[in-house]
Protein backbone atom coordinates (compact mmCIF):
# COMPACT_ATOMS: atom_id res chain seq x y z
CA UNK A 1 0.00 0.00 0.00
CA UNK A 2 1.34 3.43 -0.85
CA UNK A 3 1.08 6.21 1.68
CA UNK A 4 -2.38 7.71 1.50
CA UNK A 5 -3.37 11.12 2.85
CA UNK A 6 -6.88 12.04 3.96
CA UNK A 7 -7.91 15.66 3.49
CA UNK A 8 -11.10 17.35 4.61
CA UNK A 9 -11.77 20.66 2.85
CA UNK A 10 -14.80 22.69 3.93
CA UNK A 11 -15.55 24.69 0.78
CA UNK A 12 -15.84 23.87 -2.92
CA UNK A 13 -12.93 26.14 -3.79
CA UNK A 14 -10.71 24.53 -1.16
CA UNK A 15 -11.66 21.09 -2.46
CA UNK A 16 -10.90 22.13 -6.04
CA UNK A 17 -7.56 23.61 -5.01
CA UNK A 18 -6.61 20.31 -3.34
CA UNK A 19 -7.75 18.33 -6.36
CA UNK A 20 -5.66 20.57 -8.64
CA UNK A 21 -2.64 20.30 -6.36
CA UNK A 22 -2.66 16.50 -6.16
CA UNK A 23 -3.73 15.75 -9.74
CA UNK A 24 -4.18 12.15 -10.81
CA UNK A 25 -3.37 10.78 -7.36
CA UNK A 26 -6.35 12.53 -5.77
CA UNK A 27 -9.78 10.91 -5.42
CA UNK A 28 -12.99 12.39 -4.09
CA UNK A 29 -14.81 10.58 -1.29
CA UNK A 30 -18.47 11.48 -0.84
CA UNK A 31 -20.61 8.87 0.93
CA UNK A 32 -17.84 6.31 0.54
CA UNK A 33 -20.28 3.54 -0.38
CA UNK A 34 -18.21 2.58 -3.41
CA UNK A 35 -14.89 4.16 -2.47
CA UNK A 36 -14.56 2.17 0.76
CA UNK A 37 -14.78 -1.08 -1.21
CA UNK A 38 -12.29 0.02 -3.86
CA UNK A 39 -9.83 1.25 -1.23
CA UNK A 40 -10.09 -1.60 1.23
CA UNK A 41 -9.58 -4.15 -1.52
CA UNK A 42 -6.65 -2.23 -2.96
CA UNK A 43 -8.39 -1.79 -6.30
CA UNK A 44 -7.34 1.85 -6.30
CA UNK A 45 -4.37 3.35 -4.46
CA UNK A 46 -4.74 7.12 -4.49
CA UNK A 47 -2.11 9.29 -2.82
CA UNK A 48 -4.75 11.72 -1.53
CA UNK A 49 -8.36 11.19 -0.55
CA UNK A 50 -10.34 14.42 -0.68
CA UNK A 51 -13.37 13.90 1.54
CA UNK A 52 -16.21 16.30 0.74
CA UNK A 53 -18.10 15.33 3.89
CA UNK A 54 -17.57 18.78 5.43
CA UNK A 55 -17.82 20.82 2.23
CA UNK A 56 -20.78 23.15 2.64
CA UNK A 57 -23.26 24.22 0.01
CA UNK A 58 -23.71 20.89 -1.77
CA UNK A 59 -26.85 19.72 -0.01
CA UNK A 60 -29.57 21.98 -1.35
CA UNK A 61 -32.53 21.13 -3.56
CA UNK A 62 -33.88 24.22 -5.28
CA UNK A 63 -36.41 24.84 -8.04
CA UNK A 64 -36.45 27.65 -10.58
CA UNK A 65 -38.29 28.16 -13.86
CA UNK A 66 -35.54 26.22 -15.64
CA UNK A 67 -35.69 23.15 -13.46
CA UNK A 68 -34.68 21.54 -10.21
CA UNK A 69 -31.09 21.81 -9.01
CA UNK A 70 -29.92 19.05 -6.67
CA UNK A 71 -26.66 19.37 -4.73
CA UNK A 72 -24.11 16.59 -5.25
CA UNK A 73 -24.16 15.60 -1.57
CA UNK A 74 -27.93 15.04 -1.34
CA UNK A 75 -28.28 11.46 -0.13
CA UNK A 76 -30.41 8.92 -1.93
CA UNK A 77 -32.75 8.53 1.05
CA UNK A 78 -33.43 12.25 0.95
CA UNK A 79 -34.65 11.89 -2.63
CA UNK A 80 -37.41 9.50 -1.60
CA UNK A 81 -40.60 11.55 -1.53
CA UNK A 82 -38.83 14.61 -2.96
CA UNK A 83 -41.51 14.68 -5.69
CA UNK A 84 -44.01 16.05 -3.16
CA UNK A 85 -42.19 19.37 -3.34
CA UNK A 86 -40.74 18.91 -6.85
CA UNK A 87 -43.22 16.90 -8.95
CA UNK A 88 -40.96 16.68 -12.03
CA UNK A 89 -38.66 14.43 -9.94
CA UNK A 90 -41.35 11.76 -9.56
CA UNK A 91 -39.58 9.09 -11.64
CA UNK A 92 -36.27 9.73 -9.86
CA UNK A 93 -37.85 9.62 -6.43
CA UNK A 94 -39.69 6.35 -7.19
CA UNK A 95 -36.59 4.74 -8.71
CA UNK A 96 -34.45 5.61 -5.69
CA UNK A 97 -36.87 3.80 -3.36
CA UNK A 98 -35.60 0.52 -4.80
CA UNK A 99 -31.89 1.37 -5.03
CA UNK A 100 -29.78 -0.84 -2.75
CA UNK A 101 -31.14 -0.68 0.82
CA UNK A 102 -31.78 1.87 3.58
CA UNK A 103 -28.29 1.47 5.06
CA UNK A 104 -26.63 2.35 1.74
CA UNK A 105 -29.15 5.08 0.83
CA UNK A 106 -28.50 6.83 4.16
CA UNK A 107 -24.98 7.73 3.07
CA UNK A 108 -24.82 7.23 -0.72
CA UNK A 109 -24.89 10.63 -2.43
CA UNK A 110 -26.46 11.51 -5.75
CA UNK A 111 -23.11 12.83 -7.02
CA UNK A 112 -21.36 9.61 -6.02
CA UNK A 113 -24.03 7.50 -7.69
CA UNK A 114 -23.57 9.42 -10.94
CA UNK A 115 -19.76 9.41 -10.85
CA UNK A 116 -19.60 5.69 -10.04
CA UNK A 117 -21.11 5.18 -13.54
CA UNK A 118 -22.12 1.60 -12.83
CA UNK A 119 -23.51 0.07 -16.03
CA UNK A 120 -26.56 -1.09 -14.05
CA UNK A 121 -27.08 2.30 -12.42
CA UNK A 122 -30.77 3.12 -12.16
CA UNK A 123 -30.01 6.71 -11.32
CA UNK A 124 -28.09 7.52 -14.48
CA UNK A 125 -30.85 5.97 -16.63
CA UNK A 126 -33.51 8.09 -14.94
CA UNK A 127 -31.37 11.23 -15.17
CA UNK A 128 -30.72 10.59 -18.85
CA UNK A 129 -34.45 10.08 -19.40
CA UNK A 130 -35.08 13.44 -17.74
CA UNK A 131 -32.41 15.12 -19.90
CA UNK A 132 -30.45 16.09 -16.80
CA UNK A 133 -27.00 17.64 -16.76
CA UNK A 134 -24.26 18.02 -14.19
CA UNK A 135 -22.14 20.98 -13.19
CA UNK A 136 -18.40 20.33 -12.88
CA UNK A 137 -16.27 22.85 -11.01
CA UNK A 138 -12.48 23.05 -11.00
CA UNK A 139 -9.87 25.55 -9.88
CA UNK A 140 -9.90 27.03 -13.40
CA UNK A 141 -13.64 27.34 -13.96
CA UNK A 142 -16.82 25.38 -14.42
CA UNK A 143 -18.73 23.59 -17.16
CA UNK A 144 -22.10 21.95 -17.59
CA UNK A 145 -22.29 18.53 -19.23
CA UNK A 146 -25.37 16.46 -20.08
CA UNK A 147 -25.60 13.07 -18.36
CA UNK A 148 -25.39 11.46 -21.79
CA UNK A 149 -22.02 13.07 -22.42
CA UNK A 150 -20.89 12.64 -18.84
CA UNK A 151 -21.18 8.84 -18.65
CA UNK A 152 -18.74 7.65 -21.28
CA UNK A 153 -18.51 3.91 -20.56
CA UNK A 154 -18.94 1.37 -17.75
CA UNK A 155 -17.33 2.97 -14.67
CA UNK A 156 -16.00 5.82 -16.82
CA UNK A 157 -17.02 9.46 -16.91
CA UNK A 158 -15.98 12.73 -18.52
CA UNK A 159 -14.82 14.10 -15.17
CA UNK A 160 -11.29 15.50 -15.52
CA UNK A 161 -8.61 15.45 -12.85
CA UNK A 162 -9.24 18.48 -10.65
CA UNK A 163 -12.99 18.58 -11.22
CA UNK A 164 -15.72 18.25 -8.63
CA UNK A 165 -19.31 17.50 -9.51
CA UNK A 166 -21.30 20.09 -7.55
CA UNK A 167 -24.88 19.81 -8.76
CA UNK A 168 -27.37 18.10 -11.02
CA UNK A 169 -29.98 20.02 -12.97
CA UNK A 170 -33.20 18.35 -14.04
CA UNK A 171 -34.96 20.59 -16.59
CA UNK A 172 -38.59 21.42 -15.96
CA UNK A 173 -41.42 20.16 -18.15
CA UNK A 174 -45.14 20.74 -18.37
CA UNK A 175 -46.73 18.34 -15.90
CA UNK A 176 -50.17 18.70 -17.49
CA UNK A 177 -49.07 17.11 -20.77
CA UNK A 178 -45.81 15.27 -20.08
CA UNK A 179 -44.51 12.66 -17.63
CA UNK A 180 -41.64 10.31 -16.98
CA UNK A 181 -41.55 6.77 -15.59
CA UNK A 182 -38.97 4.14 -14.72
CA UNK A 183 -39.28 0.37 -14.56
CA UNK A 184 -36.61 -2.02 -13.36
CA UNK A 185 -36.34 -5.76 -12.90
CA UNK A 186 -34.36 -7.48 -10.15
CA UNK A 187 -34.25 -11.07 -9.01
CA UNK A 188 -33.77 -10.11 -5.34
CA UNK A 189 -34.61 -6.86 -3.56
CA UNK A 190 -31.49 -4.75 -3.07
CA UNK A 191 -29.68 -6.04 -6.16
CA UNK A 192 -28.52 -3.95 -9.06
CA UNK A 193 -31.09 -4.00 -11.86
CA UNK A 194 -30.93 -6.76 -14.45
CA UNK A 195 -32.48 -4.25 -16.84
CA UNK A 196 -34.05 -0.84 -16.27
CA UNK A 197 -35.97 1.35 -18.71
CA UNK A 198 -36.83 5.03 -18.36
CA UNK A 199 -39.41 6.80 -20.51
CA UNK A 200 -40.50 10.38 -20.98
CA UNK A 201 -43.50 11.33 -23.12
CA UNK A 202 -45.11 14.61 -23.96
CA UNK A 203 -48.55 14.49 -25.60
CA UNK A 204 -50.91 16.99 -27.17
CA UNK A 205 -54.63 16.98 -26.31
CA UNK A 206 -55.39 14.51 -29.11
CA UNK A 207 -52.92 11.86 -27.90
CA UNK A 208 -50.25 12.67 -30.44
CA UNK A 209 -46.70 12.30 -29.16
CA UNK A 210 -44.84 15.62 -29.26
CA UNK A 211 -41.68 14.43 -27.61
CA UNK A 212 -40.39 11.12 -26.31
CA UNK A 213 -37.30 9.67 -24.73
CA UNK A 214 -36.64 6.01 -24.02
CA UNK A 215 -33.44 5.04 -22.20
CA UNK A 216 -32.33 1.48 -21.54
CA UNK A 217 -30.02 0.55 -18.68
CA UNK A 218 -27.58 -2.35 -18.20
CA UNK A 219 -27.60 -3.52 -21.82
CA UNK A 220 -24.32 -1.76 -22.62
CA UNK A 221 -21.72 0.23 -20.70
CA UNK A 222 -23.81 3.39 -20.50
CA UNK A 223 -27.50 4.29 -20.48
CA UNK A 224 -28.61 3.81 -24.10
CA UNK A 225 -31.24 5.80 -25.95
CA UNK A 226 -33.68 3.60 -27.91
CA UNK A 227 -33.88 5.84 -30.97
CA UNK A 228 -35.77 3.42 -33.24
CA UNK A 229 -38.48 2.98 -30.62
CA UNK A 230 -38.63 6.74 -30.10
CA UNK A 231 -38.98 7.20 -33.87
CA UNK A 232 -42.03 4.91 -33.88
CA UNK A 233 -43.76 7.20 -31.37
CA UNK A 234 -42.74 10.78 -32.09
CA UNK A 235 -45.34 12.62 -34.15
CA UNK A 236 -47.81 9.73 -33.98
CA UNK A 237 -50.96 9.13 -32.03
CA UNK A 238 -49.94 6.68 -29.34
CA UNK A 239 -53.08 6.37 -27.21
CA UNK A 240 -55.46 3.44 -27.70
CA UNK A 241 -53.46 1.64 -30.41
CA UNK A 242 -50.48 -0.69 -30.54
CA UNK A 243 -47.81 2.01 -30.73
CA UNK A 244 -46.39 1.25 -27.27
CA UNK A 245 -46.09 -2.47 -28.04
CA UNK A 246 -44.33 -1.65 -31.30
CA UNK A 247 -41.93 0.59 -29.39
CA UNK A 248 -41.19 -2.27 -26.97
CA UNK A 249 -40.44 -4.58 -29.89
CA UNK A 250 -38.18 -1.99 -31.52
CA UNK A 251 -36.29 -1.20 -28.31
CA UNK A 252 -35.66 -4.92 -27.80
CA UNK A 253 -34.59 -5.42 -31.41
CA UNK A 254 -31.83 -2.84 -31.06
CA UNK A 255 -30.08 -3.91 -27.87
CA UNK A 256 -27.29 -6.47 -27.67
CA UNK A 257 -26.71 -7.10 -23.98
CA UNK A 258 -24.19 -9.68 -22.88
CA UNK A 259 -25.46 -12.40 -20.62
CA UNK A 260 -24.29 -12.70 -17.04
CA UNK A 261 -24.84 -15.21 -14.22
CA UNK A 262 -28.12 -13.50 -13.32
CA UNK A 263 -29.69 -13.35 -16.77
CA UNK A 264 -28.93 -14.50 -20.31
CA UNK A 265 -28.79 -12.06 -23.17
CA UNK A 266 -32.15 -13.35 -24.50
CA UNK A 267 -33.76 -12.85 -21.13
CA UNK A 268 -32.51 -9.27 -20.92
CA UNK A 269 -33.80 -8.56 -24.42
CA UNK A 270 -37.26 -9.81 -23.41
CA UNK A 271 -37.08 -7.62 -20.33
CA UNK A 272 -36.28 -4.56 -22.45
CA UNK A 273 -39.43 -5.21 -24.44
CA UNK A 274 -41.70 -5.69 -21.42
CA UNK A 275 -40.23 -2.87 -19.32
CA UNK A 276 -40.34 -0.43 -22.25
CA UNK A 277 -44.03 -1.12 -22.76
CA UNK A 278 -44.75 -0.81 -19.03
CA UNK A 279 -42.77 2.38 -18.52
CA UNK A 280 -44.34 3.96 -21.61
CA UNK A 281 -47.82 2.99 -20.45
CA UNK A 282 -47.16 4.52 -17.05
CA UNK A 283 -45.81 7.76 -18.51
CA UNK A 284 -48.72 8.03 -20.95
CA UNK A 285 -51.25 7.42 -18.17
CA UNK A 286 -49.62 10.13 -16.05
CA UNK A 287 -49.40 12.59 -18.95
CA UNK A 288 -53.06 12.12 -19.89
CA UNK A 289 -54.40 11.70 -16.34
Amino acid sequence: MIDCHYLEPTTVSEACALLAEHGDGAKVVAGGQQMSLLLRNGLIQPSHLISIQHVSGLEDIAESADGVTIGAKVTLNRLIGVDNAHPTLRALSRAVEDVADQQIRNFATLGGAICEAHPASDINVVLSTLNASVKLVSASGERVVSIDDFVTDAFATAVRPGELLTEVVVPSFDLTSAAAAYRRFVLRAGDYSVVGVGTFVSLDGAGSCQDVRIVVGNCSGTPAQAQEAEGRLKGHNIVGNNALADAGDLAAAHVAPSGDPMASSEYKIDLVNVLTREALAEAVALATG
Binding site: G32, L37, L49, A100, D101, G190
Partner: protein, 157 residues
Protein backbone atom coordinates in the same frame (compact mmCIF):
# COMPACT_ATOMS: atom_id res chain seq x y z
CA UNK B 1 -0.21 7.36 6.85
CA UNK B 2 -2.18 6.74 10.04
CA UNK B 3 -4.68 9.26 11.37
CA UNK B 4 -6.25 9.56 14.80
CA UNK B 5 -9.88 8.49 14.87
CA UNK B 6 -12.05 9.44 17.77
CA UNK B 7 -15.34 7.59 18.18
CA UNK B 8 -17.99 7.38 20.84
CA UNK B 9 -19.08 3.76 20.77
CA UNK B 10 -21.99 2.75 23.00
CA UNK B 11 -21.41 5.92 25.08
CA UNK B 12 -17.68 5.26 25.65
CA UNK B 13 -14.94 7.27 23.99
CA UNK B 14 -12.25 5.51 21.99
CA UNK B 15 -9.20 6.94 20.25
CA UNK B 16 -7.47 4.73 17.70
CA UNK B 17 -5.12 5.18 14.77
CA UNK B 18 -6.35 4.14 11.33
CA UNK B 19 -5.20 4.22 7.74
CA UNK B 20 -7.49 6.22 5.43
CA UNK B 21 -8.41 3.00 3.61
CA UNK B 22 -9.57 1.25 6.79
CA UNK B 23 -13.31 0.90 7.05
CA UNK B 24 -15.44 1.71 10.05
CA UNK B 25 -15.86 -2.05 10.45
CA UNK B 26 -12.06 -2.47 10.66
CA UNK B 27 -11.90 0.31 13.25
CA UNK B 28 -14.64 -1.21 15.40
CA UNK B 29 -13.46 -4.82 15.21
CA UNK B 30 -9.67 -4.57 14.95
CA UNK B 31 -9.00 -1.08 16.32
CA UNK B 32 -11.39 -1.04 19.26
CA UNK B 33 -11.78 -4.78 19.65
CA UNK B 34 -15.58 -4.93 19.68
CA UNK B 35 -16.22 -8.04 17.59
CA UNK B 36 -20.00 -8.24 17.98
CA UNK B 37 -20.21 -6.37 14.70
CA UNK B 38 -19.81 -9.22 12.20
CA UNK B 39 -18.07 -9.25 8.88
CA UNK B 40 -19.28 -11.63 6.19
CA UNK B 41 -19.35 -10.43 2.60
CA UNK B 42 -17.11 -7.38 2.99
CA UNK B 43 -18.71 -5.86 -0.07
CA UNK B 44 -21.85 -4.24 1.12
CA UNK B 45 -24.35 -6.94 0.33
CA UNK B 46 -25.10 -8.84 3.53
CA UNK B 47 -25.67 -6.30 6.30
CA UNK B 48 -24.06 -8.33 9.12
CA UNK B 49 -21.79 -5.33 9.75
CA UNK B 50 -24.73 -2.93 10.26
CA UNK B 51 -24.29 -0.36 13.06
CA UNK B 52 -25.92 2.97 13.89
CA UNK B 53 -24.08 6.27 13.40
CA UNK B 54 -25.76 9.22 15.07
CA UNK B 55 -29.01 7.24 14.83
CA UNK B 56 -28.66 6.29 11.16
CA UNK B 57 -28.16 2.72 9.95
CA UNK B 58 -24.97 2.10 8.02
CA UNK B 59 -23.10 -0.91 6.74
CA UNK B 60 -19.80 -0.39 8.53
CA UNK B 61 -17.83 -2.15 5.77
CA UNK B 62 -19.02 0.52 3.32
CA UNK B 63 -17.72 3.57 5.13
CA UNK B 64 -14.19 4.67 5.85
CA UNK B 65 -13.38 4.85 9.54
CA UNK B 66 -12.33 8.49 9.18
CA UNK B 67 -15.77 9.39 7.80
CA UNK B 68 -17.15 8.57 11.25
CA UNK B 69 -14.62 10.70 13.13
CA UNK B 70 -16.23 12.44 16.11
CA UNK B 71 -19.49 10.57 15.68
CA UNK B 72 -21.50 8.40 17.98
CA UNK B 73 -21.77 4.73 17.06
CA UNK B 74 -24.10 2.07 18.46
CA UNK B 75 -23.05 -1.53 18.01
CA UNK B 76 -24.72 -4.72 19.20
CA UNK B 77 -22.69 -4.51 22.42
CA UNK B 78 -24.61 -1.31 23.17
CA UNK B 79 -28.05 -2.87 22.82
CA UNK B 80 -28.09 -5.23 25.78
CA UNK B 81 -25.97 -7.66 27.75
CA UNK B 82 -26.45 -11.36 28.59
CA UNK B 83 -27.81 -10.31 32.01
CA UNK B 84 -29.95 -7.49 30.71
CA UNK B 85 -31.20 -8.32 27.25
CA UNK B 86 -32.74 -5.61 25.11
CA UNK B 87 -36.46 -6.43 24.62
CA UNK B 88 -35.73 -7.17 20.96
CA UNK B 89 -32.99 -9.60 21.90
CA UNK B 90 -35.36 -11.37 24.29
CA UNK B 91 -38.03 -11.48 21.60
CA UNK B 92 -35.58 -12.91 19.05
CA UNK B 93 -34.71 -15.70 21.51
CA UNK B 94 -38.31 -16.38 22.38
CA UNK B 95 -39.36 -16.60 18.72
CA UNK B 96 -36.41 -18.70 17.61
CA UNK B 97 -35.21 -15.91 15.32
CA UNK B 98 -31.59 -17.03 15.64
CA UNK B 99 -30.02 -20.03 13.97
CA UNK B 100 -26.29 -19.70 13.29
CA UNK B 101 -26.55 -16.16 14.64
CA UNK B 102 -24.18 -14.55 12.19
CA UNK B 103 -26.69 -12.08 10.79
CA UNK B 104 -28.25 -11.42 14.20
CA UNK B 105 -26.28 -8.33 15.34
CA UNK B 106 -27.11 -6.51 12.09
CA UNK B 107 -30.72 -7.71 12.14
CA UNK B 108 -31.18 -6.47 15.70
CA UNK B 109 -29.81 -3.01 14.96
CA UNK B 110 -32.04 -2.73 11.92
CA UNK B 111 -35.00 -3.87 14.05
CA UNK B 112 -34.13 -1.34 16.78
CA UNK B 113 -33.97 1.49 14.28
CA UNK B 114 -37.27 0.43 12.73
CA UNK B 115 -39.07 0.48 16.08
CA UNK B 116 -37.40 3.74 17.14
CA UNK B 117 -38.75 5.38 13.98
CA UNK B 118 -42.05 3.54 13.75
CA UNK B 119 -43.25 1.92 16.98
CA UNK B 120 -46.14 0.14 15.27
CA UNK B 121 -44.89 -1.20 11.95
CA UNK B 122 -46.92 -3.46 9.67
CA UNK B 123 -45.58 -6.85 8.60
CA UNK B 124 -44.78 -5.26 5.25
CA UNK B 125 -42.78 -2.48 6.98
CA UNK B 126 -40.75 -5.08 8.86
CA UNK B 127 -40.04 -7.15 5.79
CA UNK B 128 -38.93 -4.18 3.74
CA UNK B 129 -36.70 -2.96 6.58
CA UNK B 130 -34.71 -6.18 6.13
CA UNK B 131 -33.83 -5.62 2.45
CA UNK B 132 -30.26 -4.82 3.50
CA UNK B 133 -29.88 -7.71 5.96
CA UNK B 134 -29.34 -11.14 4.45
CA UNK B 135 -29.89 -14.26 6.54
CA UNK B 136 -28.70 -17.42 4.88
CA UNK B 137 -30.44 -19.52 7.56
CA UNK B 138 -33.74 -17.88 6.68
CA UNK B 139 -34.98 -16.56 10.03
CA UNK B 140 -36.94 -13.73 8.43
CA UNK B 141 -40.36 -15.09 9.37
CA UNK B 142 -39.40 -15.65 13.00
CA UNK B 143 -37.58 -12.31 13.22
CA UNK B 144 -40.64 -10.57 11.78
CA UNK B 145 -42.86 -12.28 14.38
CA UNK B 146 -40.44 -11.26 17.13
CA UNK B 147 -40.50 -7.61 16.09
CA UNK B 148 -44.27 -7.53 15.67
CA UNK B 149 -44.68 -9.08 19.14
CA UNK B 150 -42.77 -6.15 20.67
CA UNK B 151 -44.74 -3.63 18.67
CA UNK B 152 -47.96 -5.24 19.94
CA UNK B 153 -46.77 -5.24 23.54
CA UNK B 154 -46.16 -1.52 23.28
CA UNK B 155 -49.65 -1.04 21.89
CA UNK B 156 -51.20 -3.03 24.74
CA UNK B 157 -49.58 -0.83 27.33
Amino acid sequence: MKYPLSLTVNDENYDVLVEPYHTLMDAIRDGIGLTGTKCACEDGRCGTCTVLIDGQLVKSCLMLGLQANGKSVTTIEGMGSPDALHPLQAAFLEHGAVQCGYCTPGMLLTAKQLLDENPSPTEEDVRSAFVGNLCRCGVYTHATEAILSIAEEKEDR
